[in-house]
């Protein structure tokens, strides 16, 4: 195995290349599929294998920028990136992250930062996971109830549709998402998710994705693609700011990006073969696992928490790749049937 060991001069450690490729691949699959950066998988994974924490965060952010470019390019070709929506949110997100950072400083001065933030993180993850799961269950029940009828059930009034009706100029049409709403809605949603992301100390992907679905009203695939566009920008900024602070292990980030590029491509293409609600169900499961790992950290079970996250990351990637393979086989079979039908 020494053959695969490289020396990382900035972190000052020796590290196995295959491990870096595996971590990158896993987070690439999950990131491309859910539209998240995946810091919650990479940071503990690098840390458990000997990366000092600041280098783990910086290296993760650096590779996240590159990986999100790969996913955003593919999602863009699928028509899943709403650039207008993404740009509308950036301003709010940036201001929100700054406000959130100020809030953290205030909590730190009061000596409450550590305890309050971690507890808020657990509550927030549990709330998001529960809501997404509740939404999935009620959707499944509705579908089963209406299956026997000839006409589809009327569309339910959602929070997003109510928010879209608020008529504060300028009103904007977002073509890829197929929605029209006030410009203030994405700006304020960006502001809110930015504050939460900064307070919790995360990139914000897993907060923005459900916010795009449930507050703005995007289709799931567009929420994933647009979120990745935002992750790409925050990742590039993170890479620069951590690089300037000397906390990026560039060689490790490059190896991880190589694995992540393959994974991101697979995760992104898998979105094509899966219905939006299946993405939401797996997303809710992922959120609950992340929540459990934070609870373990709170109970000072650091090792158990990191192992849980890594195992879960690999298992979730396996499920996504399974869906991808199944989808490709079904598509090819359909193409063969079409060809046979055309020949007749």
């Amino acid at each position: 195995m020494d053959y695969f060991t490289v020396y990382l001069p900035i972190a000052g450690i020796h590290f196995n290349v295959l491990l870096l490729l595996l971590i990158g691949f896993t987070v690439g699959v999950c990131g491309g599929f859910f539209g998240i950066g995946g810091a919650w998988i990479v940071t503990p994974a690098l840390n458990i294998f000997g990366f000092p924490m600041p280098y783990a965060i910086g290296t993760d952010l650096a590779h996240m920028g590159g990986k999100s470019i790969v996913s955003t390019m593919r999602h863009g070709k699928f028509g899943n990136v709403d650039l207008r929506l993404g740009f509308s949110m950036i301003f709010g997100t940036t201001v929100g992250m700054e406000l959130g950072a100020q809030l953290v400083m205030m909590l730190e001065r009061a000596g409450l930062a550590e305890s309050v933030i971690r507890k808020a993180y657990i509550v927030f993850l549990a709330l998001i996971g529960s809501y997404v799961l509740y939404d999935y269950i009620s959707h499944t029940r509705r579908t089963k109830t209406t299956q026997g009828y000839a006409t589809a059930a009327p569309r339910q009034e959602t929070l997003a549709s109510r928010l879209q009706r608020i008529n504060i100029p300028p009103m904007i049409h977002f073509k890829s998402s197929g929605i029209t709403c006030s410009l203030w809605l994405p700006v304020l949603v960006g502001l809110f998710t930015g504050i939460v992301a900064a307070v919790l100390g995360v990139g914000g992907g897993f907060i923005r994705m459900p916010a795009l679905i449930y507050l703005i009203g995007c289709p799931t695939a567009v929420a994933v693609g647009t979120d990745l566009f935002e992750v790409m920008i925050t990742g590039a900024y993170g890479a620069f700011t951590y690089g300037v602070k000397g906390r990026v292990e560039l060689i490790a980030a490059m190896w991880m990006l190589l694995g992540a590029a393959v994974g991101a491509q697979m995760g992104t293409v898998a979105v094509k073969y899966v219905r939006g609600y299946a993405i939401r169900l797996l997303f809710a499961t992922t959120i609950f696992i992340a929540c459990a790992s934070v609870i373990m950290k709170q109970l000072e079970l650091q090792l158990a928490s990191s192992i849980t996250i890594m195992t879960a990351g690999i298992a979730i990637s396996a499920v996504i790749i399974g869906w991808l393979v199944k989808g490709i086989i079904a598509e090819r079979a359909a193409a063969r049937r079409d060809e046979a039908g055309g020949a007749k």
Binding site: I10, A239, Y242, V262
Partner: protein, 111 residues
């Protein structure tokens, strides 16, 4: 120290006479200052340096040298390399996955 005090007492000329008491006081005070400084807080690592000893010339050596030269330049190069790799790998793997015969055109959104 005694030798210097002796020299100072025999100093000739105005610049030497002017400077001699000051230098003597300074030299006498130094050990006291060192003693007063005493055991303080343990020193923090002020600068992070990439260890290039034993590294063969090549890309890794270049990255380590860049890191040791300027963090600003290193931050900038990090972003450029990650963005370039993202674009190139995105393009290459996009082509490769296209070889599988998958329809990679615009997709319909099914909830």
């Amino acid at each position: 120290m005694m030798w210097f005090c002796h020299l100072a007492s025999r100093a000739r000329g105005w610049p030497a006479r002017l400077l001699a008491p000051g230098v003597t006081v300074l030299l006498l005070a130094l050990p006291a200052a060192e003693a007063l400084a005493g055991p303080g807080k343990p020193a923090k690592k002020l600068v992070n340096v990439a260890d290039t000893r034993g590294l063969a010339p090549g890309f890794t050596h270049w990255v380590a040298d860049l890191y040791n030269t300027s963090y600003w330049l290193f931050g900038l190069v990090t972003v450029v390399i990650m963005a370039t790799m993202g674009l190139v790998l995105g393009y290459v793997f996009d082509r490769l996955i296209g070889l599988l015969g998958i329809n990679l055109g615009r997709m319909e959104h099914h909830e």
